[in-house]
């Protein structure tokens, strides 16, 4: 714990809450994420994990509380502005640009870096073209990292579920984020594929990117997390390092189940 405290905080979630027609989907949740750290959010289905992500990334307007990124209050900020401040994410329900090629999907992640004025783009000025090429090269390299380079020219909508999950990760990485939110990146992947994603995440974190992870694959979570936050019914019920959390009786009862505790 002391190791965590010593560093400066990148993302600080303070008392975040939201209700849907009377249901407190997330209620007064607080935690912090530091650069290079992998923080996992776990909890039963419907605990509010995705909703929490949606509030942090500006897709839902938080009902209460604050989100502080790099010392700046970014609560309720539009997602594209958050992207500019270094936040990037993937989705539990895939959000793919279906009719674009796999490569173009990834290139889109470079939007902020390649973006110029629309006039320059209309006139096809050299600067605009140069930036577009740079983005293309970077995207190609990223596709290689997630093992999709051979599918680069295929229409994204035609990929299988697992491949799309990885495409989303590539696109999110293209933003060169300071903090990356991953919502169930390993869903639909088998154990071996999960391990690959595992490595990728660890690698990214090692380069100093903070990672906020939602995942139901406990083996993965326990293996790579520095810190775990447990939600149940929208409330934070536990928090700590993997070892502590996995022994927490409340967590076992609500989430892991007795079977898991045995193992």
């Amino acid at each position: 714990m002391s190791d965590r405290d010593s560093q400066m905080t990148l993302l600080s979630v303070e008392g975040l809450g939201i209700t849907f027609g009377g249901l407190k989907a997330v209620n007064d949740v607080s935690f912090q994420v530091k650069p290079g750290e992998i923080v996992s959010v776990i909890g039963p289905n419907g605990a509010g994990k995705t909703t929490l992500f949606n509030m942090i990334s500006g897709i839902y307007q938080a009902g209460s509380g604050r989100v502080v990124l790099n010392g700046e209050d970014v609560t309720g900020m539009e997602p594209h502005l958050l992207a500019r401040r270094g936040m990037s994410r993937t989705f539990q329900n895939l959000q793919i640009f279906q009719s674009m090629s796999v490569l173009d999907n990834a290139v889109t992640g470079y939007h902020l870096q390649e973006q110029g004025s629309i006039l320059a783009d209309l006139l096809g000025l050299p600067g605009s073209r140069r930036r577009a090429e740079a983005a293309r090269d970077g995207a190609m390299a990223l596709l290689g990292r997630v093992g999709l380079e051979r599918a680069a020219e295929r229409e994204a909508g035609n990929l299988s579920y697992g491949s799309l999950k990885r495409l989303e990760i590539a696109r999110a990485l293209a933003l060169n984020p300071k903090i990356l939110l991953l919502d169930e990146p390993a869903a639909g992947c088998n154990a071996v594929e999960t391990a690959e994603i595992d490595h990728l995440i660890a690698e990214v974190a090692a380069s100093g990117v903070a990672i906020l992870l939602v995942e139901h694959d406990m083996k993965m979570v326990m293996r790579i997390s520095n810190h775990i936050v447990v939600l149940d019914h929208g409330e934070k019920i536990a928090e700590g390092d993997p070892a502590t959390v996995s022994k927490d009786p409340a967590v076992i009862a609500a989430y892991l189940g007795a079977e898991h505790a045995d193992r």
């Binding site: 997602p79 594209h80 958050l82 640009f97 674009m100 939007h111 783009d121 209309l122 605009s128």
Partner: protein, 318 residues
């Protein structure tokens, strides 16, 4: 040497515009050609709005109306040269598109369709009703562009039809070139991205509202210039240019030809401009045929005529 799609498109257009006149049996064909180019220009704007960004407008004729009436009114009331009136019309259209686009582009699908429809109807209503200014439904005269006379002084004596054929052709080339530049540019990609998933586009940093507005404004300018060219060419204009049917016509041309590609959409403009000319022999069946063509193309050649044809050609080549 392998051409990029952009080069291929531009080359095709240049060749078509430059060479077809050699086969024209009479001056009338220049007129039809010029109309195709004018429509092609408007339709290129629709490609940017609908093909790239996936936004629907059933009111773009409103902008064509503004462009057209700018050419009719500005020279008379403001005393400016018709050429500047084109620019003025484009400016007004851009500003209006910006103002109208901000609220309505938040809407999606059919809701956007009805809102844009409303805008188009408002414009055509003003043109119809403000008779003192616009001449009402009977229309109004438009000043001569004067460029033809200028060319004459330089020793290029073109007939009216020839002049407008080449002049509109040139404008179309310029418009197509701009739109093609856009396609693979950062902005173009952002537009196509928000077409696919707005949420994902936002999280990768695309300012969706601004991007949509960009596309709307640019396409409005295309429509406006197209309207101006039509007015200047015809030297007379009626509010029909801003009417609902003209809006539909623009969208139909684009979608029929292939709204995803500039060349496709221009092809669509060509087909639909030619169709009534070809069908004059069976004028009674014109509507039947037109309706049938619209349905059949959309059902069997979903991406539009040109892309589907090209795909078929390539398919057999493999």
């Amino acid at each position: 040497m392998k051409l990029t799609p952009k080069q291929a498109t531009l080359l095709t257009l240049v060749v078509l515009i430059a060479l077809t006149p050699f086969f024209f049996p009479s001056g009338y064909y220049y007129r039809v050609g010029a109309l195709i180019f004018v429509n092609g220009l408007a339709v290129t704007g629709i490609v940017i709005l609908t093909g790239y960004a996936g936004q629907i407008s059933l009111g773009h004729a409103g902008f064509a109306g503004i462009g057209a009436y700018a050419c009719a009114l500005a020279p008379v009331h403001l005393g400016i040269h018709p050429a500047f009136a084109v620019v003025l019309g484009a400016l007004i259209s851009a500003v209006l598109a910006w103002l109208v686009g901000r609220p309505i582009l938040r809407l999606k699908g059919y809701y956007l369709a009805v809102a844009s429809l409303g805008f188009g109807i408002l414009v055509s209503m003003v043109l119809n009703n403000e008779r003192e200014l616009t001449g009402g439904p009977d229309g109004i005269d438009v000043a001569d562009l004067g460029l033809r006379g200028l060319l004459k002084d330089f020793g290029m004596d073109l007939t009216n039809g020839e002049f407008w054929y080449f002049f509109s052709g040139l404008c179309l080339l310029l418009g197509a070139w701009l739109a093609l530049n856009l396609y693979n540019s950062p902005t173009g990609r952002a537009l196509r991205a928000l077409h696919g998933s707005e949420i994902a586009a936002r999280t990768v940093g695309v300012d969706v509202a601004r991007m949509k507005l960009n596309a709307f404004v640019v396409s409005a300018v295309y429509a406006s210039v197209s309207g101006s060219l039509l007015a200047l060419q015809n030297k007379f204009i009626t509010p029909d240019v801003a009417g609902f049917m003209h809006s539909i016509e623009m969208v139909t041309m684009a979608v029929l030809g292939g709204v995803g590609s500039v060349l496709g959409a221009i092809f669509g403009a060509g087909i639909l401009t030619l169709l009534p000319q070809v069908l004059t022999v069976f004028a009674e069946y014109e509507q039947l045929v037109l309706g049938l063509v619209m349905m059949l193309v959309m059902i069997f050649l979903r991406e539009g005529l040109l892309p589907s044809i090209l795909r078929k050609l390539r398919g057999t080549g493999e």
